[in-house]
Subunit: 151 residues, 2 copies
DNA sequence: CAAACAACGTTGGTTAGGCCAACATAAAGG
DNA sequence: CCTTTATGTTGGCCTAACCAACGTTGTTTG
C-alpha cells in the first residue's frame, strides 16, 4: 500500500538520527570540497588543535580530534611540507614529535575558518539563529556523552 | 599559549555543525558495523522506501534516499539475491525496473529496524526524551531546506 | 515523421575517511 | 633486568559518495 510520493525520504529513515547526521555530513562535505583546498577539513582540524592547545605530539593531536595516529601522521606531513607546522623530536621523550603551528599556519587556519563559516551558513540556511545554537548544543551533548573510544 | 587539556576537541571544531554531524555519523557507523550484517544500512534504507511507497523504479529509490543510481543498483542486486526484493522489467516503460519488497524482505526490514533503534538508543544516551525529539526535528529541518541536489 | 534529447539501468572506475596490522624505537613498570 | 606500553611510521583494507560512459528506451521538437 503506497502512502505518498517517493520524493522525500521514508519516515523510518527521517526518524533515525544516525541517518540524518550522515546525510548532513555529506551535504557539508559537498559544500566543502567545492570551496576548500584538498585536505582542507583535516588541515583545519589539526591547526585548530595546535592553535588552541599549543604544541602537541601527534598522538595527542589524534586523541583531541578523534583521529587515527596514522592519519594524523599524513596530515602533519602535508602541513609540514606547506610550512604550516613545524615538526621536531621531543628531547625529553624521544618517541614523540613536537608539532608546532607556524605564523603562516595560523594565517592559513584563519582563512580556512572563514570558509568553514560560509559553508556552515549555507548548510544551516533553514534554521534561525536560536535554532542553530540549540542544534550545536544538542550535538555537542551527544558527542560529550561518548568518551574518546576509537584508535 | 596553551589554553586547556588536549583531551577534548578544540572549540573551533565544536562550534562547527558540519564537523559534529560527521563525528556522530561515524559513531553511528561504528555501532552499526558491530551489530548489523554487511550492507545493513543501505539495505534498510532501500527496504524502508519500498515498504512506505510501494514498488519503485531504481531511479525513484535513489531520488527518495539521496543515493546514486549506481549504488542503488548494487544494493538492489544484493537484496534480490537474498530474495528480499523482486526485480522485474516495467512493461509500460521498458527502461525501468519495478522493484517490489517481498514478505521475507518485510521481515528483514523489521529486524533491521529493531537493531537500528537499539543503536539509536545507545547513540543518544546523553539526551533525555525531549532533547531527542528536538534534535530530530532540527536535523529534519536542515535536510528539508536542501533540495535533492546530488546525482 | 524523423531527428535530437533525456531518462534508465548497467559496468567500471576514482576519491576521501575511517580503520587495522606490523614494525622499530623508546619509555615505564614489574 | 625483563616485560609491557606508547609512539611514529609504513602499508594496506573497506565503505560511502561520486563520476564517466554505454546501449536501450521514451519523450520532445523541428
Amino acid at each position: 500500500m503506497p502512502n505518498e510520493d517517493p520524493l522525500r525520504p521514508p519516515g523510518r529513515l527521517e526518524s533515525l538520527t544516525q541517518w540524518q547526521s550522515g546525510k548532513i555530513a555529506t551535504l557539508g562535505a559537498r559544500l566543502t570540497s567545492s570551496r576548500m583546498p584538498l585536505g582542507g577539513r583535516a588541515d583545519f582540524a589539526v591547526l585548530a588543535a595546535l592553535q588552541q592547545f599549543g604544541p602537541l605530539s601527534q598522538a595527542d593531536i589524534g586523541r583531541s580530534l578523534g583521529l587515527d595516529r596514522n592519519d594524523v601522521n599524513e596530515v602533519v606531513g602535508r602541513l609540514e611540507g606547506a610550512h604550516h607546522v613545524h615538526r621536531m623530536p621531543n628531547p625529553t621523550d624521544r618517541r614523540r614529535n613536537t608539532v608546532t603551528i607556524t605564523a603562516q599556519g595560523a594565517r592559513h587556519l584563519d582563512e580556512l575558518e572563514a570558509i568553514a563559516h560560509e559553508i556552515q551558513n549555507d548548510l544551516l540556511q533553514g534554521l534561525d539563529q536560536n535554532e542553530r545554537v540549540q542544534l550545536r548544543a544538542l550535538l555537542r551533548k551527544v558527542l560529550a556523552s561518548h568518551g574518546p573510544q576509537p584508535s
